[in-house]
Every structure is written in C-alpha cells, then in structure tokens.
Symmetry: C2
Subunit: 494 residues, 2 copies
C-alpha cells in the first residue's frame, strides 16, 4: 500500500463526489459505429460477409472503443473512463520507455526497410528461440526454424485457425475464456469456438471454482459431435484468462493426452507466463516438458503484449515442431507482417538479459503484487469474493450478490452502471461465462488511477447495496451464492 498511499484520499473523495453529481454523458456500451448505406439492418455497399464483419462488434472490442473515446486523463479528462477492464499492463511504461529510447534502438539497416521473410527476420526468430528456451526452461534448445512471429496474438489465432480448421470447424475451449478469441478465429475463417463449460461450484473431482478437468473436455467434445461439429483443435491458456489459474504440469499433461487421444491440435497460449508474481507459485511451460504427448500437434504462443506491457507493439510468436504448420503460417505471414525496425528493436529488447532479469521482470512482478494487494484489499472491504491467484494482470471476482435477478441482463446493467460512473471492468458475458455476475478486474494500472477506479467501483457497489436493502430482501441470485466459494477463495486468505 506504500505507493497507493501517496495519492491523497481526501482529494479523491471530492473528485468522486463531483463525478457523481455531474451530468454524465451516456457512455453505455451501445455506441456502435453509424451506418450510411442501409438495406434492412445491412449496408447495401457491403457484401453479406462485409455486413457480418461490420456487425461483429463484440463486447470487449466495443468496450475498448468506448473507453478509448472517453479516456480518463488526470488533467485533460478527469471524468473520463478509467479502463480496468481490458487486459493491459500499464504499470511499467516508465521502464519500457527508458529502454526503448536507448541509443541501440535507433539503428536502421537496409533490410529493415525491405521485404523480408514473412516468418520474421532470422535475427528476430533467433532472439525468440533463445529467450523462450531460457524463460520456458525448455528441455532442449528451441529451433529458429520452428518459430513464426506475427503482429499480435489475434493475428496468430487467426492464422492458426485458418491452417488447422476448415470453414465450419470448431475449436474446443473451456469457459470462461478470453472473449476476443471469437473474433480472432471467425472474422476471416468461419471457425467457431465450442465451449466446454466449467462451473463455479466445487464438485467431485475439483478443488477450485471453474476448474477445468479432462471430464469437462470430454463432455465438450461429445457435445460437439452430437451437434455435428468437427473439432480440430483445443485451446488452452496458462496462466488462464480470466481466472488467472496456473495449471500444474500434471494437469496440462492430462489435457494434452486428452488431445492426443482425440487427434486434436492444441494451441497453448502462455502469454502471461512471466507475470507470475509470487515466489510460491511455479509456472511450467509446455515447452519445458520432458515429453510433450503429441509434439506435432502442439503449438505454443507467447508475445510481448502482456508480459512486456506492450500490447501496442503488436508482437507475438508461435513455436511448433510441425514444419507443415510453420510453412502454412509463413504463407499467411505477409498479411500480418511486422515493420523491420520493430523487429530489430524487439530483438534488442529480448536479448538484453541483464535489463530483463535485473530490472524489468523483478520490478514488474513487484508492481503486479502491489496492484493485486490493493485491489484484493478493497474487495475484502466490500465483501466481494474473488479467486485469489498470483498470476496475470487481473482477478476474477464474484459480484452475483449485487445483481437484482440472476440474469445476464442484470450483469450487463451493473456493468453499464460502472461505465456510467467512469470505471470499466469486464463483465463475465464477455468471457462466455455460463453464470451471470462474474467480472474481471485488471490490477496492472498505475497506483493513482487504480485507486480512483476502485473508488468509483466502490461508489456503485454502495449504491446498489442500498437499493437492494431498500427492496427489503436479498435477490434470488444473492441467495444462490453462499457456499459456492470456500473461505480460501472468497476472502483470498492464502
């Protein structure tokens, strides 16, 4: 709380009160782009596909747009939206900036300004191979030839789903999941996600809420077959988004064995692997396993967006032992290419072991821990249960008792209420969570903004609590909550 305490609480309360009194423009997320050439609900200028693309403004993308358009700024827009809904690490800009403006970054070679290998320049892929070998504790050195680097994780999901799936195919994924994947895989490719639903209830064979098991995956696969959908691949995320769960090596091996038995490709997204901020936690990359069950069908993603606080740099890699997959991705690479100068800068960054290991990673972890401590402290104050993990940039919290009825309409209403009060957290609906009332809160924001954001959130919660009390009773949703989370989960006591 040291860093947090620097922000004057009195001033903040005044600010929040002002905010509460001001006439708020309605930022509610219905703010879709205008349409000029309308036929029915469609534009007659676009193809059917174009209309489908244009109407695919998913919750997360629309929320991002809304918060960008009315972005909080301490001086220029103090009543703008503070975005602690989109997963970005905003705590380490000072470190990144300091490194990116160093003299070695300003080098330009002729080849950087020319067409190059669409898998990424060799020097970049070599840097990724070396970096991942070290940080994933790879069982043997990763090979440059087996890496493709594209402009962001979304592009990788898009390209991977194009080469692994035919139109109409499905990708099996456990809910809740990072919702933007839907757009990544479907916009160009007509591939769908097929959900394997987990539950907040701790049932037989599980010891934590929303725990993924092989049984859940098997059930998901069976359901897909019943619906006539061919599942081509399984998507796994470790550390998980939005749960922040870290799967153990044995759990991951079980999932990979399940995939092997069913001849499914596995896309393993380890994009938060360096954002584990407690020494008690151990992350095991799939690339560190002595034996990957089906290496030719296992493709591991990592990028700079989360672990290096650089979502705006658009750099992500995939490692695969399968040269056919790599070749196919290389063919698509020209549609997702990275500027040569950025490839050079990222190479400088990833090969600066000293800066990474003694400056960036320790500082980043300390700040993540501090942000996590602050947000969990407020949640405890408000008696809001949450999954108390020590990884990633967010936590998954249980707001069910603040829904007047246990419906997604109420969840969205609560969400919009937060947004109207200029704080954006992300509703469970955006993650295809099958139970209404869960929200993801980002804690990797700078201290002052995080404190103001949580203050705004607190204000909404207090109002809602009063309204619920005034209605003389607890809502049905609230009644269902008790017992779903054990004490370890609900108060984050570990």
């Amino acid at each position: 709380m040291t860093q947090m305490a620097t922000f004057c609480m009195t001033n903040m309360r005044e600010e929040v009160m002002k905010l509460n009194k001001m006439t708020i423009s309605n930022d509610t997320v219905n703010d879709l782009p205008c349409e000029v050439g309308i036929k029915g609900k469609q534009s007659y200028y676009l193809s059917n596909r174009g209309n489908a693309i244009s109407s695919r403004h998913d919750i997360m993308a629309t929320a991002t747009l809304t918060s960008i358009r009315n972005k909080y700024d301490e001086h220029d827009n103090p009543y703008g939206i503070i975005n602690i809904g989109i997963s970005e690490n905003k705590q380490c800009f000072d470190l990144l900036k300091e490194r990116l403006i160093q003299k070695d970054m300003h080098h330009v070679e002729e080849s950087h300004l020319q067409y190059a290998d669409w898998r990424g320049h060799r020097f970049l892929r070599e840097a990724f191979a070396k970096f991942l070998t070290y940080h994933c504790k790879a069982s043997s050195p990763l090979k440059t030839e087996n890496i493709v680097v594209l402009n962001g994780g979304g592009s990788l999901f898009c390209a991977l789903s194009a080469v692994l799936c035919d139109p109409g195919d499905g990708l099996l994924i456990a809910t809740p999941y990072y919702g933007a994947i839907i757009t990544d895989i479907s916009l160009y490719n007509n591939v769908r996600l097929f959900p394997a639903h987990t539950s907040s209830k701790i049932v037989k064979g599980t010891n934590r809420p929303f725990q993924l098991t092989v049984q859940t995956l098997e059930k998901g696969l069976r359901n897909a077959k019943l619906e006539g959908i061919k599942i081509s691949a399984l998507i796994l995320m470790n550390p998980h988004n939005p749960l922040a769960d870290i799967y153990s090596e044995s759990e991951m091996t079980e999932f990979l064995e399940f995939a092997k038995r069913n001849e499914l490709h596995v896309i393993v997204n380890e994009v938060y692997m360096l954002s584990v901020f407690d020494e008690c936690e151990t992350f095991h990359s799939v690339l560190s396993f002595d034996r990957i069950p089906d290496p030719q069908r296992t493709h591991v993603m990592w990028g700079l967006s989360k672990d290096f606080s650089a979502s705006g740099l658009r750099v992500a890699s995939v490692y695969s032992e399968n040269q056919d997959v790599i070749n196919a991705l290389a063919t698509l690479g020209f549609l997702h290419g990275l500027p040569g100068t950025i490839q050079y800068q990222v190479t400088q960054l990833l090969t600066d072991e000293d800066w990474i290991n003694t400056v960036f990673l320790p500082t980043n972890r300390a700040r993540l821990k501090e942000g996590h401590e602050y947000v969990t402290h407020i949640l405890r104050e408000l008696d809001i249960p949450f999954l108390n993990r020590h990884a990633a940039l967010y936590l998954w919290a249980d707001f069910r008792k603040f829904l007047k009825t246990c419906t997604f309409e109420e969840e969205i209403a609560l969400w919009n209420r937060f947004i109207d009060n200029k704080v954006m957290i992300m509703c469970g609906k955006a993650f295809n969570c099958c139970e209404p009332g869960w929200f993801r809160i980002i804690f990797s924001e700078t201290a002052s903004k995080l404190e103001l954001a949580m203050m705004r959130l607190k204000m909404v919660i207090k109002e809602v609590e009063q309204e619920i009390q005034a209605e003389n009773g607890l809502c049905s949703c609230r009644q269902n909550v008790t017992g779903n989370l054990n004490s370890e989960e609900s108060n984050g006591a570990d």
Copy 2:
C-alpha cells in the same frame, strides 16, 4: 550515367566471368518449403484450407524467397542473386535512414504501447489526410474519419475484398497485373481475380501496347457473367504495375463511369503516385477529380512501400467516402495492426514537408530517372524493345525474340536462366500476361548493383542469341514480334 560510371567496368566484367565459370547451385524457382506430414500431396496435419494456403506459393512470393535466401552482397555473397524483379526502391536508403534516426523519431508515449483505434491512431490518420490532400491535389480536404491505415497494401486488399465480396465473387482487373494481388485477396477470402485481357498489339481505339479501354473492361465483365461469376469490384492501378502507364484524367473517368454504370466498387491503387520522375508527365489522383462518378464505391489506396522506399515498414492507407466500408475495415484492423511507435514515426515522416519536398522527393526522382536511363540504355544496346514510361520503379520489356518457342514454358526457362546467372527479373507469367516473353525490370536499385545485374542479364541474352543463331533461324515467337511495338515504344525514343 554519372553515378553509374563510378563503378569500375573492368572489375565487373571479371566478376561476371568468374560467376559464369563457377559451379552454380541451382537457384531455379522450384524451391518450395519441405513438407513433413504428407497425405498424397497434402499434409495430414493441416486442414484442406491449410493445405491450399500452404501450396499457394505464387511465382512472385517464391522468387522473393529464393532471392532472399541467396541474396547478393558485395562482400559476403558476391555470387548471390541480385533481385531486380521485386518492386522495391533501394536507391534511397541513405535518405530514409538519415531521417529515421533523427532525434524526433525516438519519442515514445504510453498510448503507443497500448491498444488503440484499429483504423490507426488519430494522429496518424490526420497526417495521412493532410499529406494526401496536398500530394493528391485533393479537390477538398480529405477527412481523417475516412482513412484506415493497415500494415501494408496486401493487408488492405485482403480486408477490402473481405468486406466488398462474398466467397466466390470476382474482382475485375486488366492483364498484365501485379500478380501478388491474387494471394492478397484469395488466401483468407476465397475471392478471385477475373481478367480483362489487353494485348501488346496496337489495335483500333488504342495507341499503345496493352492499353486498357472501357471496351476491354466491358468484355471482361461480360465474360465473367457468362461464367456465372459475380463481379463486385474493379481494381485500377495508376501509375500501372507492371506497365508503368499513367492513365489520364479522362481515361480514369471513363473507367470510373463504367464501374458506376455496372454498380461496381473501384479499388484505385495509387501506390506509385509520387514516383513520376519526368516533368513532362502529369499524374492525376482520383482524389483530385472535381467529380468522382460514384464516390461511395471508390476507394483509393496509397502507402509508403514504393514512394517512400519502405516496403519493410508495412504502412498503407485507404481513403473512402463510404463510412460503412471504413467501419467494416476498422473491425478487421486488429488483424493488420501497426505498432504505435511506428505510427508515430510515420507521422513524423509524413508531416516533415520540408524534408519531403526539398530533400526526399527531388532526390528520389533524380535517382529513378538515372536508373531508368541506365537500364533503357542497356536495353537499346541489346535491341530489346520496352515501354518507355517515366513513372514507377520498373519498365516492361519485350524478350519475345529470345524465346525458342512462343510459350510460357520457354518464358519460365529463360527466367530460370537469368536466376541461375544470379539476376532476378520478373517474368510476365507472374503478372498473368496473356502473351509469353514479357518481363518487368526494376531500375530503382543502387548504381553498382544495377550495373552488375544488367551485366549478368546481358551475358544470358548474348548466350541465348548465339544459341538461336546456331539453330539457323528465328523462332516463330520472334517472327511474330515485328510490328507489335512502334518505334516510340521499341526504342524508347521519347
């Protein structure tokens, strides 16, 4: 020829002779990536679509790869391939580098490292709007809201064809055309190019070889209908690639009126608009027209790849009055996003009017003119006819008399012979030219490389001439050539 003369001719001849004697590794373009999991000719690890993508190594892409893998370097690989086949401007690296390492380029803001508007940061789109308004001589100021900036022209073609066409639709385009467009529009989208064939013969209603007319477009459209293919849009390129023709305002207006009559969108690619290097030539951007026939269906592309010698920076824009199209492109933008820091640097570049207008553009034009003069001088020496234009980075030359038979097999054989002799020019087949024997030669290479490349080319031509003479007669293809090009075209006398 001043700059060219600095390279010692004696040394070069020695080098070429050495090259000729050495045991040449076969660089012939059959060098496709290896496949590991084969089912028939397909990989059983990939989907059908993945296999189709993987096997779509078009001539141009494969040629690029081949020349990258064995790239000429004066010191490190003197017997590598000199690539004057792929359209890149390599003459201005010194200018670009000097500008890109200036202090103003090293600025990093927090927003550059975060998710942003997928159309491009506002500051970038403002810079494009201002730049294009000035350089296109726009009839009224272009609007920031009507611009989308993505990572390269290929991505723009991909995104535009996705939103304007449904699977199976066609895009009408005159032959010869820049062949890589096929990959741009088809890899993800299942959209095809439908050719409107032009001819090297100057027939009634035309005054130059391969001249595009409305009649040709109408015939193309009729043929598409006969084949049951829905044409959604027309692609126009001005200055043209590979012909380097500059369409007049009245020609362009006729084409746009044709599109309007047939309710076709028009994608106008003006990516070479600033590479017009003779004061006698005037380029008229569609954006300068007082009246665009169908502004809601007219979409104008420009980018940094050609005019700013920066194909490796991956920056291209589209301007459209149609907000539906802009919105749909914005939705796809996250798959083709540009790093925020690059967006900032490009903004600095495009708004540096002084550098652009007094340093870069005049120097670039002078160098293009010099390169053009040098290559045309050699072609005249070799009695090789060519279209004598004064725009773009290349010229279109007639090698028909060097084909032993008038077939594409012979064209490819000649092409491979050039490559085996370490000079890459681009064969007409790569442009879907309907007559074998035409090649595109890039002249925007540095003086020493261009001279060595043309020397290697000359050597092949001399050998082929001797072989043809030894066969005691002219081939049928050669006999057909006479009279196809008038003296202005064949000797470049204008």
